[in-house]
């Protein structure tokens, strides 16, 4: 009687589920007998007070246990999406459409990597070696000696980087460029805490030059002080601009005893200078361009790197995989370096926290970097910058359209003020042509008027750009 009250129907038909081997009643009975109880309800009754029990069955949709039924059902829902395979895509703004080699997909789907988790180097050596290779190849691209396992995304890497700098310097202010991605800035602000918290870090914004889109050095000099823990800027910035003054920004930071923290899109580094060249101290960025599908934003994965000095390493929050040797000659092993920094060791006294992030994407991006090599990285950088400049030129030929800044890598700002049209309207119309127009940034950067952030990468062909230009031209004429 009491058992039925607790949602336990003694007469229910057994459910034998393909994912649950012990759902076979005879097996369960055998095990219950071994345990020494009559039924599962007796087990739960020992553990969970009746007042906390859900006294009914859950009210959920009917199960689709047939795999084909399930597949049809979910595919039916997903068919309401359009993808960037069907539409021509010019959206970027933090998640970018680049070419993904088939070998990346093959390794991403390997059951061993896909379903491994926290096993140590003896059961999961290949996972750790892949992490080490990810760290090593990112290290080559950016010119840094310490790279950790990946973070959730660029924004969280930037947040950790700024907190590292604050702990290192004992200072409570960061100056971030206004051309930082607004969502990343929101993530950073959460990391820096509200003013009411005693350990709050003040986030000051450094303006940009309206003509070039680059950091306004005068504003930086005006705002920086002995309170400043870090100067944070992005390269290329959210607005797509290459920060030509990177060495000066780092110099200004250093002259004031602050750490120079830069956020990077690593696919640019076949042609752009590594941050070590301009003396950045802490480097973060986004891994997704390196062989990872966009997955509606689920492809993001950040990296966080620093100098190989104890004062940096000691403040790095993530797992850091170090190479070592074994008791067998000529064999490599891998394990956690300076583990006593992490929350798994010292809980609230840790450097921020460590945990499950985006391991699989770091393996996939390692495959990508190994496939590309130095030549591939150079070529993808060259193809991207030439194609984006071609697109910008084509677009600026259209009456009423203006490209705002001239020094950019793969993204550029297109201003629509001369057309008298709103970007949101233009983008809605572009959909009819099977085109995803650039991201509407007119609210994020009101001072730029009705503007959109267009992204052109190595995947775009001349005919794609013509198609966009034609559609834009038609719309402007309307």
């Amino acid at each position: 009687m009491a058992l039925e009250v607790l949602g336990f129907d003694m007469n229910r038909k057994p459910l034998i589920h393909p994912y649950i081997p012990n759902s076979v009643p005879a097996t369960k009975d055998e095990m219950l007998k071994e345990i020494g109880v009559r039924n599962t309800e007796q087990l739960y009754a020992e553990m969970i007070p009746e007042r906390l029990r859900l006294k009914r069955s859950m009210n959920l949709p009917e199960a689709l246990q047939s795999e084909l039924d399930l597949r049809r059902h979910v595919e039916g829902i997903l068919s309401k999406n359009k993808t960037c395979r069907e539409y021509l895509n010019f959206l970027g703004a933090g998640c970018w459409q680049h070419f993904v080699p088939a070998v990346c997909d093959e390794i991403a789907g390997r059951a061993e990597f896909l379903t491994a988790y926290a096993g140590l180097g003896y059961s999961d050596l290949g996972k750790y070696q892949s992490f080490f290779e990810f760290q090593s190849m990112i290290g080559e691209l950016i010119g840094m000696e310490v790279v950790g396992v990946p973070t959730y995304d660029w924004g969280s890497a930037a947040g950790h980087a700024i907190r590292m700098a604050s702990r290192m310097t004992g200072r409570k202010e960061v100056l971030a460029s206004r051309t930082t991605s607004p969502s990343r800035l929101s993530i950073i602000k959460n990391f820096c805490q509200p003013t009411a918290m005693p350990s709050h870090i003040d986030v000051g914004i450094v303006d940009y030059d309206r003509k070039t889109g680059m950091v306004n050095l005068e504003d930086l000099k005006r705002k920086i002080s002995s309170r400043t823990a870090a100067v944070y800027f992005e390269n290329p910035s959210y607005l797509g601009t290459i920060e030509a003054q990177s060495p000066e920004i780092c110099k200004i930071a250093h002259e004031n005893g602050a750490e120079a923290v830069v956020g990077i899109d690593p696919i640019s580094l076949g042609i752009l200078a590594p941050p070590s060249d301009y003396r950045a101290d802490i480097v973060c960025g986004e891994v997704q361009p390196l062989g990872i599908h966009m997955h509606c934003g689920g492809g993001l994965s950040g990296f966080l790197a620093c100098r190989d000095e104890l004062r940096y390493v000691g403040e790095h929050p993530s797992f850091l995989i170090s190479i070592t040797d074994t008791e067998r000659e000529g064999e490599y092993g891998f394990g956690q370096a300076k583990y006593d920094r992490t929350s798994f060791m010292v809980r609230e006294n840790a450097k921020d926290w460590a945990g499950t992030t985006t391991g699989l994407w770091s393996i996939v991006s390692a495959v990508y970097m190994a496939l590309m090599g130095p030549k591939g990285m150079k070529e993808v950088g060259e193809a991207t910058i030439r194609k984006s400049h071609y697109a910008a030129r084509r677009i600026s030929q259209i009456k009423g359209l203006k490209v705002c800044f001239s020094t950019f890598f793969k993204e550029f700002v297109v201003n629509f003020d001369g057309t008298g049209k709103k970007v949101s309207k233009v983008n809605k119309s572009l959909l009819k042509y099977g085109i995803f127009g650039g991201k509407d940034i007119s609210e994020e950067y009101a001072e730029l008027g009705q503007s959109a952030l267009y992204c052109v990468t190595e995947i775009h062909r001349a005919e794609d750009i013509e198609r966009l230009a034609d559609a834009l031209a038609k719309m402007v004429r309307k």
Partner: protein, 516 residues
């Protein structure tokens, strides 16, 4: 026990694979990126001219140069040297819920691979529908809470985001300055202490009563005050013990004006049994890569689904998926929101898989998941406690997992839990999870035999532990020198804490090796 179970001979793949940085030959290539067509080449200048002089790369990055088959071969070999859950009885990784990730879901995920998150709402109605329904149909019913976000990128990120919500709530009441303490327990996951600390809170940790393993209500009453911002706690804790006074604890927190956040990383055996709502929680989170079958992916991408009661909904990260009955929308107009803790909408592929898994389960299947998990736990418990040198502190029956100790084995033989973990790999299983630190229970280990594992699997896994116990008592040297059948021999671990020796990149390794 080993009378019935015959342990198989096992040998892990050994490829002695070099580091990729040592491989290949100058000039080899793995892939050709898309070319720049003649039309574009003619119209624009060389790439270099678009890069400011000081920002041009002078030296090419020292990436390896390999042909495509060799890159594939290398990473296939590394995959073979990784013992994923699919290949073994991976029930030793407690708190991780190493359950089967159905393959059909991987096929479904491919269909959103090339979707951009900023596409117009009209073109991602399918994804928005899944996000909406998994929240409002499934998680709402499973937890009893009202509004959800999938933005956090992992379990700890979920706890962190909940800490940010608690912060925002008190800030909106102008009480944040005063309320800066979060209470947790030592057997709650370390992220329940570390992430609210990162969010700026002071952490108060309750330790268990020596008899029951549970925090005492009196200790909680003594810890709360007008400084209490909230409580962040697991239940069952990582010991597998369900705290039967949990509703009294949430009441004590509420009485002083704090919020209660439920870390449901250990929810697998509670689906359809008991919920966050009835225990009095204001917030909760589920690991979709654990309880809801999304693959663990060598430590992610993962997803924490965070849920809150109505009064906290306005603080959730932006955007929230809403529905007007005909269409789904992304709502950014939420002035009280904490903003963002991860870009875009989170790992939506994990939500898609969880939706598919839950649809395949239904209410009855979810309940079966819970019941079989708890049967498996009690069954394994019986097997393990029969093994010499294995003990389990605290009397309560465990829900989904249990924290055992080989302290007796260590005292008897010198073989401790790290040794057992290393040796068990020789039998073709992933090493078990010992415990996060500090080890309150000495020489701990924490298996979690979730519903994926058969009776025979559990028998086999227990037989491995029994075999290692026998070896400990008869031939401890064998264990000390292990592993023997793994990919590599025992590692020299001194490098890991020595700044002169550790190397997180190949370039650091080369420099330090030269200096030696």
């Amino acid at each position: 026990m080993t009378d019935q179970v015959k342990l198989r001979r096992y040998q892990a793949p050994v490829w002695t694979e070099p580091i990729i940085m040592e491989m290949g030959r100058e000039g080899e290539r793995g892939i050709i990126p898309p070319p720049v067509e003649e039309k574009i080449r003619k119209a624009v200048d060389e790439a270099e001219s678009y890069v400011p002089a000081g920002m041009r790369r002078k030296e090419p990055p020292r990436l390896p140069e390999l042909s495509q088959p060799h890159v594939l071969r290398h990473y296939l070999r590394l995959s073979q040297q990784t013992l994923g859950m699919d290949l073994n009885i991976d029930l030793g990784e407690g708190t991780c819920t190493m359950k089967y990730s159905p393959r059909v879901n991987e096929e479904l995920v491919k269909q959103i691979a090339d979707v951009h998150p900023l596409q117009h709402e009209d073109t991602i109605q399918g994804i928005l529908e899944i996000l909406y329904k998994f929240a409002k149909v499934f998680l709402k019913e499973i937890s009893g809470l009202d509004e959800f976000s999938f933005q956090p990128g992992g379990g700890a990120d979920g706890v962190y985001t909940n800490a940010c919500v608690i912060r925002k709530y008190h800030e909106s009441n102008n009480e944040l300055q005063q309320r800066n303490e979060i209470i947790t327990t030592i057997f709650s996951h370390p992220c329940d202490a570390a992430t609210p600390a990162t969010a700026g809170f002071k952490i108060i940790t309750l330790y268990p009563d020596g008899e029951t393993g549970l925090p005492e209500l009196e200790a909680l009453k003594a810890a709360v005050s007008k400084r209490t911002a909230g409580m962040m706690i697991t239940n069952p804790e990582d010991t597998g013990i369900f705290n039967p006074q949990i509703d009294e604890m949430t009441k004590i927190i509420h009485e002083v004006g704090g919020l209660c956040a439920y870390d449901q990383a250990n929810a697998n055996a509670l689906l359809g049994i008991t919920r966050a709502k009835e225990a009095g929680f204001d917030m909760c989170f589920f690991n979709l890569h654990k309880t809801f079958s999304s693959p663990h992916g060598s430590e992610g991408p993962a997803c924490a689904a965070i849920g809150v009661v109505e009064k906290l909904a306005k603080f959730l990260p932006v955007p929230i998926v809403t529905s007007d009955g005909t269409k789904y929308h992304l709502d950014y107009e939420r002035p009280y929101s904490i903003g963002k803790t991860r870009d875009f909408y989170g790992n939506v592929q994990a939500v898609l898989r969880s939706y598919a898994w839950s649809m395949c389960m239904g209410a009855e299947g979810l309940r079966e998941t819970a019941e079989v998990s708890t049967i498996n736990q009690s069954y394994l418990d019986k097997k393990l406690l029969a093994i010499k040198g294995v003990t389990r502190p605290f009397k309560f029956r465990r829900v989904d997992q249990a924290r055992y100790s080989v302290d007796k084995m260590k005292k008897d033989t010198g073989i401790g839990t790290d040794d057992v973990a290393r040796r068990m790999v020789d039998f073709g299983v992933t090493n078990y999870q010992t415990s996060h630190h500090p080890w309150v229970i000495p020489e701990p280990f924490t298996p979690e035999p979730c519903e994926t594992y058969s009776k025979a699997d559990i028998d086999y896994w227990a037989a491995i532990i029994e075999q290692v116990s026998k070896e400990a008592y008869t031939n401890p040297e064998l264990i000390k020198k292990s592993p023997h059948n793994s990919t590599i021999a025992k590692m020299r671990e001194t490098a890991f804490d020595d700044p002169e020796k550790w190397a997180m990149t190949w370039r650091a390794y080369l420099r330090k090796r030269k200096q030696k």
